[in-house]
Each structure stands twice: as structure tokens, then as C-alpha cells.
Amino acid sequence: MNAGTNNLAPSFVVLQVGTRRIALPREGVAELIATPLLYTFPHTTPNIAGVVLRRGRILPVLDLGPGVSGAPSPSTRFFLVVERQISNAPEKCAIPVQGACELVSGIMLPAGDDGGFVTGHLDFNGEQIQVLDLEKAIAISAANKDNWIPATEELS
């Protein structure tokens, strides 16, 4: 089934991380924000590029670039806010994205269980888009220390 506007089909948010377009289940996505300021400070957590300030709240910026496209995401002012579950408690994070995100509906074809972070594929107007398991993508990126984002490196 092609992705479209079928309200009965599951929804996904298609986003561009670096050079790669991927999709996340709609349920975990809160909003798309534009903010020019990324604040950085020293830390040792892989994949975290800094924090942004949103309505008085501090959101950690989670760069999926190293795990998804093999390189840190380029500078951007757009961030997709997603909700993670950390230690059984929700926490909102901002994912740097390039350009606009699209909300699409469609049936996901499950991926083989290869231990990766792709849970399935979405056929969107003939384009095959991989659907990510966010927590697996984070864990796999973190495990690959060569792709860690140095504390001194900034997105913008």
C-alpha cells in the first residue's frame, strides 16, 4: 500500500537527517521547531550535540546523523521534537533535521531482524523510506565510538 492520506493507516513523520530521508512513527513525535540557537557545553554522551531552549524548557539535541547517515548533521535551525522513554520516564529531545518534515500514512513492511535500527520500510510515492526504531538507532550510534560527536563540535 502506498503512503497517502488514509486516516485508518498508521502515520509516520518523514524527516531528512543529513543526506538521508527516514521515518519515525507519528506517536513519538511532538512538533517541529525552528530555533537559531544551539547551546553547547562539554559532555561525554554520544550523539548529544547540545541543548536548545523551547518555551523555557531545555531540550537535549540528539543528532542521529552519525548513526543514520555516517556523519554529524550539518548546521540547521530546524529540530523535530520527539519523546523518549528514559528509565521509564518521558523526556523530550530535539533531532536536527534538514528542511521540512512530512506527515504520511501508510502500511509499514517489516524489516528482517538483522539487529539494526530499521524496523520496516514505507513506500512513499515510489520511494522506499526506512522506518527507524529511535532507541535502537541511539544505542547503535553510541556503541560506535568512532562516530561520537566531540564535545567541542557544534551544529551551528
Partner: protein
């Protein structure tokens, strides 16, 4: 508010006993016999007390910087080398570090604050040298931290209370 390399940090004024220029420390600095931690190579003596000198840039894993000031802390035997003292500021809010941060920063910082719409980490004075690091330094350099106010023979518990 102080800075190291290109980064700014905040530390509560109540946890700082004294701020000195590195030039003024001079003869009060003693080399450690066995520097077991890369970030700590010296002791400094001030007012009959001794403090481990912690390199700020090495503590935060930053590129080599040029410290010009030293923060002598109050409740811990630590003096921190920093590049610059930026300003005194009123911290109105202390926000917990988001749980996504799971590395050494959980020890380094009490949390984050917002100063002039800028997010700045709040350094934890007890994070510059953990209890384990202090113990290693004491074990490898026995007696060095003891001074006139810490007589030889005093237990570690007694010294820590002072």
C-alpha cells in the same frame, strides 16, 4: 561565571573561597610526588590549607587552554585552573540535567541555568575530584595534603570535616 576554552560555566559563589591570579600563586605550589590523575599535578597551599590543583581544560576534556585564574574552593580540597573569570551573575533557576545526558557530565554539573537567554552548565564543586579520585591521590601521595591545620595522624574523616 568563568570560562575555559570557548565554554562558559557557572559555579555558586558560596562554594568559592578565593579567586587568585595564577601568577600570584608562585612559591605556594608543590609538585605531586605521584600524579596519578592527568588533571592533577600540583598542590597549592593557602592560609595553612592545601588544595589539589585541577586543570579545568583537562577535567572537561577540552583542548589545551591558557589558565589565568584559579578558583580555590571552600568545602573541598580543590583549586581549579580556569581561563577567565567572566562576571558575577545572579542565578535565578537551576534546571536538572536532562536524563539523555548519561556521561561524566552527570558528575561535573549540578544542572543547567539560563543567564541572559544563554544556557550554561552549573559546575558541581564536588565533581572536580570525586571521592574515589581524592582517595587515589591521598593513597599515592600520603601526607601531602596535611598541613599545619591538618596535623599528621589525623584520620581522613577528621580531615574531610575540616
Amino acid at each position: 561565571m568563568f570560562s575555559i576554552a570557548e565554554y562558559s560555566f557557572v559555579i555558586s559563589a558560596s562554594s568559592v573561597q578565593e579567586i587568585r591570579s595564577t601568577d600570584s600563586l608562585g612559591g605556594n605550589v608543590v609538585d605531586l610526588d605521584r600524579p596519578v590523575l592527568q588533571k592533577v599535578r600540583h598542590l597549592v597551599e593557602r592560609d595553612s590549607r592545601s588544595y589539589y590543583v585541577v586543570s579545568g581544560y583537562e577535567h572537561f576534556h577540552l583542548p589545551l587552554s591558557r589558565p589565568t585564574s584559579v578558583l580555590i574552593l571552600r568545602a573541598v580540597p580543590v583549586a581549579v585552573l580556569v581561563d577567565r573569570i567572566e562576571e558575577m551573575a545572579e542565578m535565578r533557576i537551576l534546571l536538572g540535567l536532562p536524563r539523555s545526558f548519561c556521561g561524566e557530565e552527570r558528575v561535573w554539573y549540578r544542572g543547567l541555568t539560563v543567564l541572559g537567554r544563554k544556557v550554561v552548565p552549573v559546575a558541581d564543586p564536588r565533581g572536580f575530584l570525586t571521592a574515589e579520585e581524592l582517595q587515589r591521590l591521598e593513597e599515592e601521595n600520603p601526607g601531602l595534603l596535611q598541613t599545619a591545620s591538618h596535623p599528621v595522624g589525623a584520620s581522613r574523616h577528621e580531615r574531610e570535616r575540616m
